[in-house]
Amino acid sequence: MQVADHKPKSLKNVSVNLRDLTILIADSGPFMRRVVYSMLRGFGANRILEAGDAAGVLSALMQQKIDILILDAKLPPQDGLAVTQAIRRNTDNENRTLPILIMTSDAHQSTVKDARDAGANMVVVKPMSPTTLYDRLVWIAFDRRQFIDCPTYFGPDRRFKIEGYPTGVGRRASDKTIEVAEATEPNLEQDDIDSLFQAARAGQSE
């Protein structure tokens, strides 16, 4: 199966439609859940569930189809990464490929790596702004990464190139889009390339 290539060239100004998607927020902090809930409502989501611990997450997943899980990395009693691994590694679980956005309070590279290795789709650092959360949701919505299933890992392909988040977050202000013109001449033959290098080497030796 091949995923259709719907990813727009630029995700700037791209919107996501969250209506009728079931979103589960999992965080032990009631105020944090309330904040994320308000953000999602503002984005147009109308089916939002909440869980305060890992048991709540697993219970929600068994009871209904969840479309995306927004999960705290320190969700008790173990942590959100253990929950992510449990979801990904359970072969009988129809939610195995569920998009998982990990919220973490620390931006250490090791934390991001651990989240990636657990099978998370994306990480967002708390405290977060509506813009940051929105950009991560857009990113996941248009992410075309394949899934990897091997004895030690199940989840989105960890080998992917960060080209900056949608809408330019994380890019330098001076970065510009590069326009590449159409080729007007045929590619060089290998003999032509060799002769060019020979000429260059000869020039160096003189």
Partner: protein, 169 residues
Amino acid sequence: MSAKTPPNVRIFAVKTRFQELAQRPGGVPRDIAIQQAETGIEVHKADFVDWAEHELQELSRALRSVVAGQADKVRIDEIYDRCRQLRDTGTTMGLPLLTFVADNLCRVLEAVQNGAPYDAEVVECHIDALFLAKRHTYRNIHPDQVPEMTSGLHRMLERANRSIPGRSD
């Protein structure tokens, strides 16, 4: 991607329901969505001060019990969890200084969890700073605007980190 895939590795494409439905036309335009979210958060800002006050009172209570000689992992974890929640929400609710102080205290407590000795005065000093950061006059004050406070708290954190057993630096 390499041409050969090992036999015990399966690589497959997934298009989730989230992706299918999120890409539908008709969503709230990005700018409006973010603006609506910010408006939604604004409503909670008044509640946040009351909630933060309650959390700080609970932090003080937990601290008193530790000072009274009942220091144990459960109490430290309770202080840490409450502090973490303040850290996670402070900046979003317009109190970046509260997030800074709470973050510093979380790191001090992480040092304690890693074996550094528990110093009640350091924790108490942070809780005093949290009460200060919560005050209306400190709303929207960023850490770099109060360098005396931030450098003092940083020094406490550095001291805690240096006292972790086995730490070389």
